[in-house]
């Protein structure tokens, strides 16, 4: 049992996630339509073939990494910062239409810079960079390429 636990790693967990996704995909396919209707292939026939192939390849990856002595796949040990980036980006998406491009983008860039360089000093410099980058991108999109970005209150 201990030996089995040692051999299982993050790569196997990912295979399990893929397996669950694939199973949900198959269930959804059968919910939509049977693979063959009136003697002809339906909209779910091809997806079911690829999900069958997915099961085979997931199994191959799982057992290959199980038998490998040195697993090369990287661990998720350093995931704190990427998780923060994702969280900040979700906030940015939420605020984007509500407070408009400029205010939300300044906050977003400030947050990303802070994640990339965690130093309490230089807050004003970080803010300065955030404003400059947001303005440059604004000019590039709105003025040069004439792409409309949301204003404060969600107006275009």
């Amino acid at each position: 049992m201990l030996n089995l636990k040692k051999k299982l790693n993050i790569s196997h967990l990912f295979c399990v996630i893929l397996f669950i996704w694939n199973t949900l995909y198959v269930i959804e396919a059968f919910r939509i339509a049977p693979p063959i209707q009136k003697g002809q292939v339906s909209a779910t026939f091809f997806p079911l073939i690829i999900s069958f192939l997915m099961y085979i390849t997931i199994a191959l990856v799982f057992f290959t990494s199980y038998n490998q002595k040195n697993v090369t796949a990287t661990s998720f040990g350093q995931m704190n910062k990427p998780a923060l980036v994702v969280l900040v980006t979700i906030f940015y998406i939420t605020l984007f239409k509500i407070i408009g491009y400029m205010a939300s983008s300044i906050l977003y860039i400030f947050a990303i810079i802070s994640i990339f360089e965690i130093k309490k000093k230089n807050i004003l410099i970080k803010l300065f960079y955030a404003v400059i980058i947001a303005v440059i991108i604004y000019i590039l999109y709105e003025k040069i390429f004439l792409i409309r970005l949301p204003k404060l209150g969600g107006n275009m």
């Binding site: 949900l24 003697g39 997931i58 910062k81 998406i93 939420t94 860039i109 590039l140 409309r148 970005l149």
Partner: protein
């Protein structure tokens, strides 16, 4: 004759100042993205994708060609100077180039990399102009079952190209196909695989997928790295001093390397470029291995030889021309950059294929011309003018760089449909690609699966409809049989035959 005239008109269009400036701009952007470790030409085009909406398509395409050629070459800058390849295709250049740098011959190595890239890129783009019209004629002969087998062949090559982990390549490809099935069915007006989420009825747009896969995933990967690591790299870079006059390769050096090394490298690169999913790194690797095999003195490889740089660089730049042939004629991209350029075409309402190459050749011809001019003229000129400053370009503050990338990527996701839902999809695709990359799954396979998935399904279902559901149609049509046989041949060559163990030979030579 018509094609020749079309290409000449392409050159005429390219040299209009308002168009030519975009090739130059693309070349500078590509040089920067190719040179900075972690950034790639694919990422550069992915970030520019949203602005191509409001740009003239010819300008967008010529800019992409400038980025493509520059990105393929400029990976060699950091590969040579600090032994960190700016792009994966410069891996073999790092082996030889950095040894030369240590001997104080860095400028000579950079000059040789540029010269070989120029020859490779030029031969690749000439072959593109010659071969593409014939490929169009071939494409017209292929019927629906043949098209299915052709894409199946492309998938097999994409998967087998991941020689270290074929199963992971297959998983990533299938995942890409699955994501592409979300939304309206390709043959019936009915939604599928929406899992009860209404906005998924519109499907997942190509732009969020491309931007997420290449920009957001890179942002997440980079966020893990410490700033001190980069400060150290920057310090190393600023130490390097390079003189402009040392860039020019001498006739003696070229003679020693042998013109055949350049030509052979270019041909290898071109043909590998044609294969889907293979790309610049494989081309450089195979060309380097071939140069080592055919060299009079293979023992010098790994110790800092110009011959190794010439073989690798001529091959990876020739890939550009090769990768565009199947992309433009069959909608099958040869590598990741070609896949993103395909995205530029699709997003702007153009469907690559024989029709694009015949009725809208005036849009494609400037692209050919831009690739040729980028390789032959802009590449050596850029090295000569900007070469001594290359080192400084890549030492840009990374927090500014990546926060700008984050903003451009997210706004780019919004621009695709002017909805925050696609911004969210960009983030989700980025997270998926990040997890795949962390687990060593090839994300380019995911992208190719997404692009080619709807096509293979369409041809598969149409073929079965034609033959009353009987799959024997794939084994009775000559065009389909040819591609199925090719699958067997490639399977044999890519899995059964043993390659040269370059690592072992280099280690031996170095010790």
């Amino acid at each position: 004759m018509d094609n020749l005239l079309g290409i000449l008109q392409g050159f005429q269009t390219l040299f209009i100042p308002g168009v030519f400036i975009y090739v130059l701009l693309g070349f500078i952007v590509g040089t920067f993205f190719g040179a900075v470790p972690g950034l790639t030409a694919t990422l550069a085009i992915a970030l520019l994708l949203p602005v191509t909406y409001s740009m003239d398509i010819v300008k967008s395409l010529v800019m992409c060609m400038g980025i493509y050629m520059a990105g393929m070459y400029s990976g060699s800058i950091t590969a040579i100077t600090i032994n960190i390849p700016g792009a994966p295709s410069a891996m073999m250049t790092a082996i030889e180039g950095n040894k030369m740098m240590e001997r104080g011959e860095g400028a000579k190595a950079l000059g040789q990399a540029a010269f070989a890239s120029m020859i490779g890129g030029t031969i690749g783009s000439i072959l593109l102009m010659i071969v593409a019209p014939f490929a169009v004629k071939l494409a017209l002969l292929i019927k629906t079952p043949g098209k299915f087998s052709l894409i199946l062949f492309a998938f097999v090559v994409v998967i087998l190209a991941q020689r270290k982990s074929i199963a992971k390549g297959a998983v990533a490809t299938i995942l890409g196909i699955m994501i592409a099935t979300i939304g309206i069915d390709i043959m019936q007006p009915a939604a599928r695989f929406t899992f009860g989420i209404d906005p998924l009825v519109q499907g997942i747009d190509l732009m969020p997928l491309i931007i997420g896969t290449f920009a957001i995933s890179e942002l997440l990967i980079q966020s893990e790295k410490s700033s001190d690591e980069y400060k150290l790299i920057n310090k190393e870079m600023l130490k390097q001093k390079i003189s402009r006059r040392d860039f020019l390769p001498t006739i003696k050096e070229i003679k020693e390397i042998g013109l055949m090394t350049y030509i052979k490298g270019a041909l290898i690169g071109y043909f590998i470029g044609v294969l889907p999913g293979a790309g610049g790194s494989m081309a450089a690797f195979i060309s380097y291995a071939e140069a080592m095999r055919s060299s009079n003195d293979p023992d010098k490889f790994g110790t800092g030889t110009l011959e190794g740089i010439a073989a690798a660089e001529s091959a990876n730049n020739a890939v550009c021309g090769g990768a565009l042939v199947p992309m433009l004629t069959f909608s099958i991209p040869g590598d990741a950059v070609a896949a993103v350029v395909l995205g530029v075409l699709i997003i702007n309402g153009l469907q690559p294929g024989p029709r694009l190459m015949t009725t809208q050749f005036h849009l494609v011809a400037p692209m050919f011309a831009a690739l040729f001019v980028s390789a032959l003229i802009i590449l050596p000129l850029t090295l000569y003018i900007l070469g001594p400053y290359f080192i400084k370009i890549v030492t840009i503050n990374r927090k500014i760089l990546y926060s700008s990338i984050a903003l451009v990527a997210m706004v780019g996701g919004y621009v695709s449909t002017y909805s925050t839902f696609q911004m969210l999809m960009t983030l989700i695709m980025g997270v998926i690609a990040y997890v795949l990359r962390k687990q060593n799954y090839p994300t380019v396979s995911l992208l190719l699966g997404f692009i080619l998935g709807p096509m293979i399904e369409k041809y598969f279902r149409r073929s079965l409809y034609i033959n009353d559901g009987n799959p024997l149609i794939f084994f009775t049509q000559w065009d389909s049989i040819v591609f199925l046989l090719l699958i067997v041949v490639f399977y044999y060559f890519l899995t059964k035959r043993k390659g040269v163990d370059i690592k072992e030979i280099i280690e031996k030579n170095r010790s």
